[in-house]
Structures are given as structure tokens and as C-alpha cells.
Symmetry: C2
Subunit: 332 residues, 2 copies
């Protein structure tokens, strides 16, 4: 039918049902009993709506309503299990609470992050969650001005409540595990190298502290040259190891699964020397367990982080210190 070219509205249905637009509206949004519409008319309207392929215009509906129920999230990447799980679970938990989740991926680009935040605010999100954002405070400030609740996940900020992993403890435990395995597998006791991330990044800094403290507790000192926080790409991790050709036992703390890709490549290119190398990685991946030399991974507790996050949504609070969620150490 040619008239199908225009989307149907409640006014179209009202004509067909020989009723008023308000009656149609209340039938369609479920308030018809409260508004004392007869079951007969309700049934008729629903039938006609079905026949006509009617669907709500959310823009019109949201414009009139006082609440949008939309919760927005920005995530940097979908290229690892951690952010993938955050996105999946955020959507699921939001739906379970009757909210409408909208996620957008910002490629670790600060400007895109900010643009995306503005777009989400324009879409009337009631709460905006910045996940792993490079500049969460810029977004929080913008949200404050727009009267939108802001929250930070994974990376903390000063201007909004933050839920993050207990990076320090996770890193300390992982470091200890790698050191132990170097001892038991290789009969070697020495300082590990730290590969990946950026020291300006809160999480990397916290993990480095845990890394160093675990060494100190065992009487080990880490030479400064062992700290190679050269960024978040696989190739950067690989490059940073090009000057390192272990002639004896060695161990590495890898700061993310992306960096792990580079470390594993380096490791595979070592040839027979690879058997003297042990490493572990902060962040989990299902294939990690099967990579030669990998002794364990830290899995961040995404579910717990999001549960904690959702307790904050809808109840604005001051920023305060970040809430720390314990990680799970997976030893292989």
C-alpha cells in the first residue's frame, strides 16, 4: 500500500479506530486501565495498530515525558574481552532494570570521547558513564553543566564517582605469582620487566606500585630500565622488547592483553631461549592459558564493577575516592 510510505501515528490509528488520539495513546502505552478505556476499545486499537505496522515515535514520546530512562556509556575499544564484557553486561543489567542502554565506542580518541558525550547528553541520557576515558573530568564537567549525572568506570576521575578495579592488589598478586613461578619453573629469583601502558594513566601507575611493592617484599630492586610503559599497542610492546634478548631466565609483567599480543610475538621469535621466559598479564583472555610461558592472568570482576556502578545510577553523589573492586587472579 502506498500510504505505508509514511510512518503511522496515533492520529492515523485514531481515525481508523474511530476514537480519539488520547485513547489510542493510552491503550498503546498501557495506561488505558487507569484512564478507564474499555477493554473492547483497547483490543480494537491494538488490533489496528498491529495491522498498520504502527510503532511508537520515541522522540515524540520522550519529548513529552519527564524521564528518558536512557543510560549512556562510552567505551574506548571493543578489541579485548574486558571492554567487550563491560559493554555486554552493561546492556544486560540496564535492560534488567528497565533502562535503555546506549553505548558508543570512541577509539581512545579524546575529542571523539567528548563529541560522543555531547551527543549522548543531547539524547537526554539520565546518566553518562565514561569507561576508560582519557579525560573523564572534561566529560564530567560538561555533564554537570548540562545537569546530567556522570560516573566513571575503569579509570577514575576527580569530578564524578568512580568504580575501578583494585589495580594495586591485582598487580601485586600477579607479580608475586610470576616471581614464584620463575623460582619454581626456572630456579631463578630476579626482577621482572614491566611492559605496556602509560605511567600517566592512573591504572598503570597503581599497577606499577603493586609490581614494585611485590618485588620489595622479596628484597628485590627493579632497575629503572625494566619499566617499559610505552603505550597501549601491540607493536609498541614488541618494539620495547627489541633490545632484550635474554640469555638466561627472565620474567615479564604485561600490562594489558593488547600489550600481551606484542609480548607473545616477541616471545615466539626468541626461539629456544623462550623456554627460560615466564610472563603474566593484567587482564584476561580465554586463549591466554594456552600461550607458552604465560603463568597467569588477572581477571577484572566486571560483574561486580557494574553492580556497584548501578547502585550509583539515579542517586547523584559527590566524587569521593574511587570504589575499588577486587580482581581475580587466574594462575595457570
Amino acid at each position: 500500500m502506498d500510504k505505508d510510505r509514511k510512518r503511522k501515528t496515533i492520529y492515523d490509528l485514531a481515525v481508523l479506530a474511530e476514537a480519539s488520539p488520547s485513547a489510542v495513546s493510552s491503550v498503546l502505552n498501557g495506561t488505558w486501565e487507569k484512564r478507564r478505556i474499555s477493554k473492547k476499545l483497547a483490543t480494537k486499537v491494538l488490533r489496528i495498530a498491529e495491522e498498520q505496522g504502527y510503532h511508537l515515535n520515541a522522540q515524540a514520546s520522550l519529548l513529552r515525558r519527564d524521564r528518558s530512562n536512557i543510560v549512556g556509556m562510552i567505551v574506548p575499544k571493543y578489541d579485548n574481552r574486558y571492554f567487550g564484557e563491560i559493554a555486554e553486561q552493561f546492556e544486560a543489567k540496564a535492560r534488567a532494570r528497565g533502562m535503555f542502554p546506549v553505548i558508543t565506542c570512541t577509539q581512545r580518541d579524546p575529542d571523539l570521547e567528548f563529541e560522543a558525550a555531547k551527543e549522548l547528553v543531547a539524547y537526554q541520557v539520565e546518566c553518562l558513564i565514561s569507561t576508560g576515558a582519557t579525560d573523564p573530568d572534561r566529560i564530567a564537567a560538561f555533564c554537570r553543566a548540562a545537569g546530567v549525572q556522570a560516573l566513571n568506570l575503569d579509570l577514575p576521575g576527580q569530578d564524578a564517582p568512580s568504580v575501578i578495579s583494585d589495580n594495586y592488589t591485582g598487580a601485586r598478586d600477579l607479580t608475586r605469582l610470576i616471581l614464584d613461578r620463575c623460582q619454581s619453573d626456572l630456579g631463578w629469583h630476579g626482577a621482572l620487566r614491566f611492559v605496556g601502558g602509560r605511567l600517566s594513566d592512573h591504572n598503570t601507575a597503581a599497577r606499577l606500585r603493586g609490581f614494585l611493592d611485590a618485588h620489595a617484599a622479596l628484597g628485590l630492586t627493579v632497575p629503572e630500565a625494566f619499566i617499559k610503559a610505552t603505550g597501549y599497542s601491540a607493536s609498541a610492546a614488541w618494539s620495547s622488547l627489541q633490545d632484550f634478548s635474554p640469555s638466561g631466565p627472565a620474567g615479564i609483567f604485561v600490562n594489558s592483553t593488547i600489550s600481551l599480543e606484542g609480548v607473545v610475538r616477541w616471545h615466539s621469535e626468541l626461539g629456544s631461549e623462550a623456554r627460560h621466559v615466564r610472563y603474566g598479564c593484567f587482564d584476561w583472555d580465554p586463549f591466554g592459558k594456552f600461550l607458552p610461558g604465560n603463568v597467569g592472568m588477572v581477571e577484572q570482576d566486571v560483574s561486580a564493577m557494574l553492580e556497584e556502578l548501578f547502585t550509583r545510577i539515579g542517586t547523584p553523589q559527590a566524587a569521593g575516592a574511587p570504589t575499588l573492586i577486587p580482581c581475580k587472579l587466574r594462575a595457570f
Copy 2:
């Protein structure tokens, strides 16, 4: 300020700027030159908007405009690189074309898929892309009724144009690679096993055809018991191999990275027998290259698929045969 509790509107700005709402609107949406608003007033309005933390109400704007520029996509999961890349690139390419992308993840749940499709249509998407949907035709039918363009990605449907990988050729080439490597590495020539996926699924069926044809071309027949398309989970793949303890050379075609997780686990539990096993996987993962026994992976050309998809957006066409995008074989 207390009045900040309500979001600012163009009417608020109009009062502050001593101008009309229409002038304010045209300044803010960039049509002020066309409407012959003086630069002086434009500057003033922009300054006040900035000061007041004004942001557009997209609902109101979209209600009035004739086009939304929103493109919607549903994806089943974010737990592998393939869908992750699809999501990332879809967002990037949509933005580059001035569209607003909205992606939602439906957990391979047919009902959730349909609910999500309805929600996206309510948000006035101009085009809805069903990625890897279990029932794309149901969604396409709904879109048709609502007057929204529908497209399928990754898995084809009858009721909307589809862009998918050339699964047949990719699988045939991968099968050939595994067979070759079994010959060269193990000096063995024999039928492979096929693990993962579901035969009712178009892609699995196409891949199985390629798998069988590659065997036939080399004069090999595959016993029916070698076909273990038992679903999409790692544990199902693992379980399906529990009755298989190779006492000699063996090879496996793995139908997805998720299934690969199960196969690799099985492989790692084989002990010393594992050295006689070779496998390859349809779909790519950065760690795949380093998994013992893995001889190669098929990388689907996400970028090409999406480019093809975007040529379709905005120019509705009949369904027709799926467009096939060649895959890239990565031999290790």
C-alpha cells in the same frame, strides 16, 4: 545556581539574549546565515549558550526534522574480535558519513533481537542492520511494515539485502591449508574433523560444503561422525571432542574462535599426543598464531563488508542473492 536543575531550552536563551526562539534556534543549528541573522546576534547567542551549559534536545529536534540520520545495528556478542571489529568500524564509518550509529547487543537471543529491533525502529532509525541474527527475516518483515530499510550482515536473510563473507571459499582454502600442513608436518593424509557451529546456520552449512569439497578434490571422504556442529559455545566444542583421543595424526577444522577455545582446551589436555594434531580456525584472533598446533585462520574482511553495506544504506533495494566478500587466509 538552582535554576540549573532544569535543562536550558532555546526559550531560556531567547530571554537572556533578548531575541526570539527562532533566531536562537537558527544560530545554534548553523542556519543563521541563511536566515539572515546578524553576526553580532549570533555571537551573543553562542556565548550565552556556552555560559548556560545549553545543549540541544535531540528528541525535540528530531521530532520536527524529516530525517533522523540514525542508523541502527544489532550484534549478537562482543566476545570475539570479529563482532568487535564490526561494531567499531560500523561506528567509525557511520560517523564519517555524518550518520549517528546506535548499536545494541542481543546475546544471540531471538526475542531480545526482536525487542531491540523494535526499540531501534521507535528511535526512528533510517536503516536497521541485523548482524549475525538468528531470525533476520522476522526483523526485516517488521521493518518493512514500519517503513524502515533493513539490511543483513554476516548471516543472510530472504527479505532484505545481505552482505556476508564468502564462507564457502574461505572454508575450502582453510581446509586445504590444514590438509597440506598435516601432510608436511606429520606426513599424514586423511580426513579432518569439523567442530563448532550449527548446520541450520547458513554460514556453517556453506563452510561445511567448502570443507567437504576440499576433501573431495584430494580424493578424501569425510565420515559423518567427523562432523561435530554442536553449537556456538567453547564447552560444547570441548565436549564434542571427549570421545576422541587421537593415537596418531589428526586434523581439525574449527568453525569459530569461540569453538576454538574449547578445541584448544581439549588439545592442551591431550598431553604428548597433542604434537600429532593440527588445526585451523574460521575467524581470526591475534593470539591464534601462538597456539600450539594452529596452522592458520580465516580472517573475514570486515572493512570490505562494511563498505559494501554502506553503499546500500539509503538506497533501498530488493533482497536478491547475498553479496559475498572474500576472506583472507592467514597461514602460520
